[in-house]
Subunit: 631 residues, 2 copies
């Protein structure tokens, strides 16, 4: 199989320039600071020593102006949302406990105060949050409710006689669980609770509740427990919070989206409890975006380690006598190079996401906001699942060396493992994505009269015809050709992804249409189909972002190399799902085999550039100081 | 999709009886001992405390007669090879550091002395090894050579004037690496080294080399380093050994397969250095078998935890208001139930392997021995990859709870992670399996004259025709039928697996036939195909073993349940590889979709039995004492 030409030599700096993109200057600054001794991640610290070290590092970060990036200029902030997210993400190159601790303090805790609170909260707290005078927690998740936070059990009941809210955990399931900064350092918590006033529940709202006094002891009525040792991230002091009739003033309510007057009257700019809750959650997507991005950085680090190792480790002799460098084995390339291609692809999709988050107007239409949230959810799932799989593969690709803590992959694996299930469980997030895509079919679910149903079916038919007439026809035309070069045709790749997305989605819509009679049963029997719809949508977003990045790359050699890497992403993704394409007649059996051959050929063509491609990530060298790379 | 009937209620004890099989009594004894306080695995111990605890537990094991199972009756052993392997395997339910430490001491170190040594070694050491008076190491792997142990650099040069061997590490790559028992406890090591006598190298042999004196200090010339913190298994004291001209007497050579006379004359019952080396390695397969089995036990433990959690955890309300038990979601069933089916399947295949190892006659023909080794390699790879994937999934299926050390999955993940790359890297092992299968084509590789090539092609043709006339024709006939019930036809499932194996293997043989001109290039470009051949062969072994276990099950309800579970294993395996079956015309697109529907339907049918199925494993309850299961 012939692969389009790959340049002989590409400058890794040209790749770094493309990867760093719009916030390149900020990224250089972050790399410079992270390259100092203070930020080295230490192996084998015990839990307490690790927590102390991470808090020290956090204070070092607070000396820069980066914590201010995410906050309003009116309170000493720099109002650079994109820069703020990028500076969190980049911490993913180093000790991920620091990334999480910083994310809890400035992203979740500080973000909630800023985005759910109003000016009196901003005035009182934001500066102290930025400079770490005030350490805080984001107490949303409960023992009994993690994914389904709308049904939290913690209550905040307004007492009009005292002008106070009474925050309470009514049952063991209401205990706030896994709360970062709670076990050791936090002083104040943003607590999510069902607001009750005048005997009526108004849904989940956020309250500022002190949890420790100046001496560091738990305040009266608050019980704090330590979550203890975790698989990783042991530099973060996760804890449990239980409230026994804890009284806070009326002003403790973060009242941007709902307020309670002195007399207990509830008011809100948003009528529906559900919509209000999801609007509140929607303002908090930065955390989710940052987690996806830092998972990407951790993956880049793992791949840099594994590819450098594979590029120097030799094992087994050729018949000619010399020992083979293990990255010369097709099997080894197969483990690492498609993962490398996807890491680039995800990076570009993430860059676009952060830019969109940065650029969205405060008064953007709601559907634009929902689309952004959906994209954040989908890319968080894609990025973190990819991180878990790739870091695992990188560990295995380094054999026994990869298992020793000194070689850094063990810690990376353990620290990133929870990313797939925190800040939104990935499976739940993919469902959210699919749900968002289905809103175009929404009216049909709400009105299932025979007429509406008939109209729906008719529209479906039209859609199907339309679909066949555009993406699919294009795909078919090229499928029929025997010319394997079509595999490297970007338009063919993109149309194939697009067609799959359209087809899966309309199929799901058709199935869910029957949901009126037995909503849970119908939804549940289609759940794998729903998840597929979410996944293939995200796949398409990622490929499109990679294609745009290739088109925009100014250096012709770098662009040519990235174009082949984009081919590898597209074709290895098609290969992994080729059963679907075969089942639906999108590719023939011989084309399917040609896809596998093309992936192999691309692995061979890109192998000489593997080192350059990982060097392009520019992971600070102190995070790559693994003894296994010293021979 | 209709699933054949599943009984309403099955007694977990009936499943345990089937699972425990031939060594049921021994397994009961092991479970009883492991259920005592002493064997509880402790969370959050530091490295030294963990090592101390594991050594204590090892001494407790030494008080039983189980260490004696693997040794000859002549030296106080019990000559029960199968029982010995089973008793190692079962340790996989508990702290895996103990399993590994016991495996190093009695399996690898003791096994090498017994199987590579002769009566004087047995006389002198075996009793002391069994009762732990003598702790030892198995020093094979080197820093520079792990998978390719035939090319180790350590040398043992015979000095006829002193009647001694001089053991030496000539370069940093020759350092013995990851050696269990080396960092803290080991006194004597079996060191694998290139034997040199009369100026000639005779290939790798094993030597007994003292590494610590009675005070515990390293003996002169031996440098011992600690491998430090690892991802897991920190109760095992892995270390590095370097030898600087260390002298040992001539009798230190474990001389069953090669000996050196006083004057330096080398003799061996096996002429070829390569064949001798692989014969020596072949005697040591018990370790590989035990690792596969204990990976299975760890997987059973993880699934028991995750399925019990999924069977009680609720999240999100139905439209009717009650919260859904998460194992009722199809998506959750999909994560755990096919993995459960494969865990049963692998268990039965492992049982057959251990029985074959136990029953093989000492004078069995070489090809029978090779077949056993190949099966051990293949099942070790299948078991350990399945463990890594399933324990990961189990962790994710328990969300944040799964990430806390107290809930046991974090430790299981970390401890088992290295299983895929130690005792033989899985990728290398699968290649070994494929290589073994190709021996039937061997003569064609050795004689590539035009005549031989022509004959080969002709035979291939005959094979292909024959193949189509048996397995494939059967498959096709049933494929053409529209009746979905064929999916539940065991014979159809088995023929499909068999046909795939035959086809993939003959395809590989055809490709490798061209290897004469550029052996490495041809092999390497087919490496993914070679690995596939290994994998599909193992898949077939596993399905056949499961089918036999179902047939042999005396309890009709248990048999009916296991039969559906076997369907789920077969169909989810076909589903995962349905692209291959589609590409090769083995199933139609509509049949392929029916396979997916059948997997979903089986998940639904088996879901009420999920708890029973994991309880059947009878994992000792103290290893399931996760707080997350207390609500």
């Amino acid at each position: 199989m012939d692969v389009p030409a790959v340049p002989e030599k590409v400058d890794p700096d040209a790749l770094t320039a493309v990867l760093d993109g719009r916030w390149a200057r900020l990224k250089r600054d972050v790399r410079a600071q992270m390259s100092t001794e203070k930020f080295r991640d230490t192996i084998g610290l015990d839990v307490e020593a690790h927590r102390v070290q991470v808090l020290d590092q956090l204070r070092k970060l607070a000396e820069t102006d980066r914590p201010a990036l995410g906050f309003d200029a009116a309170y000493g902030g720099l109002s650079d949302v994109g820069g703020s997210v990028m500076s969190f993400e980049m911490l993913g190159y180093g000790d991920l406990s620091l990334m999480v601790k910083a994310g809890v303090q400035w992203g979740l805790f500080g973000g909630a105060v800023q985005l759910l609170g109003t000016s009196s909260h901003h005035e009182k707290y934001l500066r102290r949050i930025m400079n770490l005078d005030l350490l805080g927690c984001f107490a949303m998740t409960e023992h009994g409710h993690g994914s389904d936070v709308q049904h939290l059990h913690t209550t905040a009941t307004y007492d009009p006689s005292a002008h106070e809210f009474v925050v309470h955990s009514p049952d063991p399931g209401a205990t706030k669980e896994y709360i970062g900064n709670a076990a050791r350092d936090g002083q104040l918590a943003v607590v999510f609770a069902q607001l009750i006033t005048g005997g009526e529940s108004r849904g989940v709202h956020a309250f500022l509740v002190p949890i420790r006094d100046d001496s560091g002891a738990a305040v009266s009525g608050v019980t704090i427990a330590d979550c203890g040792v975790k698989a990783g991230l042991n530099g973060v002091d996760n804890g449990r919070l239980t409230f026994d009739q804890v009284r806070v003033p009326r002003e403790a309510l973060l009242n941007r989206f709902g307020d309670v007057a002195e007399d207990g009257t509830y008011t809100s700019p948003i009528e529906s409890d559900g919509r209000r809750f999801f609007t509140m959650l929607g303002t908090l997507i930065r955390g989710r975006v940052s987690v996806g991005g830092s998972a990407g950085c951790a993956t880049q680090r793992a791949l840099t380690l594994a590819i450098r190792y594979g590029d120097q480790r030799r094992q087994f002799q050729r018949p000619e006598g010399d020992e083979v460098v293990i990255l010369d084995y097709l099997g080894h390339q197969r483990k690492l190079l498609p993962a490398l291609a996807k890491t680039y692809a995800l990076h570009f999709a993430q860059e676009e996401l952060v830019a969109a988050l940065h650029d969205i107007a405060p008064d953007a239409p709601e559907e634009e906001q929902r689309e952004l949230e959906s994209r954040a959810a989908g890319l968080k799932a894609a990025n973190t699942w990819h991180a878990t799989a790739t870091i695992q593969t990188a560990r295995e690709a380094c054999g026994g060396s990869g298992y020793l803590a000194e070689n850094l992959l063990a810690g990376l694996k353990a620290d990133t493992d929870v990313f797939t299930t925190f800040e939104g469980d990935n499976t739940v997030l993919l469902q959210l994505v699919a749900k968002g895509l289905l809103t175009q079919y929404k009216e049909h679910f709400e009105d299932l009269s025979p007429l509406a149903t008939a109209r729906f079916v008719a529209e479906q038919l039209v859609d199907t015809v339309k679909e066949r007439s555009v993406a699919l026809r294009f795909v078919e035309r090229l499928t029929e050709s025997d010319d394997a070069s079509v595999l490297f045709d970007r338009e063919w790749q993109q149309r194939l992804f697009e067609d799959r997305e359209e087809h899966v989605l309309s199929g799901v819509a058709n199935r869910l249409r029957r949901a009126a009679s037995d909503p849970f049963g119908v939804f549940n029997s289609a759940q794998d189909h729903v998840l597929l719809a979410g996944r293939v949508h995200v796949d398409r977003l990622i490929l499109d972002a990679f294609a745009r990045a290739v088109d925009a790359c100014p250096d012709p050699d770098a662009a040519a190399l990235l174009s082949r890497l984009c081919d590898l992403y597209a074709l290895s993704t098609i290969e992994a799902d080729r059963a679907w394409f075969l089942e639906h007649g999108r590719i023939s059996a011989s084309r399917s085999k040609a896809v596998t051959a093309a992936v192999n050929a691309l692995c061979g063509a890109l192998r000489p550039h593997a080192r350059t491609l990982v060097d392009g990530f520019a992971v600070p060298e102190q995070f790559l100081a693994a003894p296994m790379l010293n021979g």
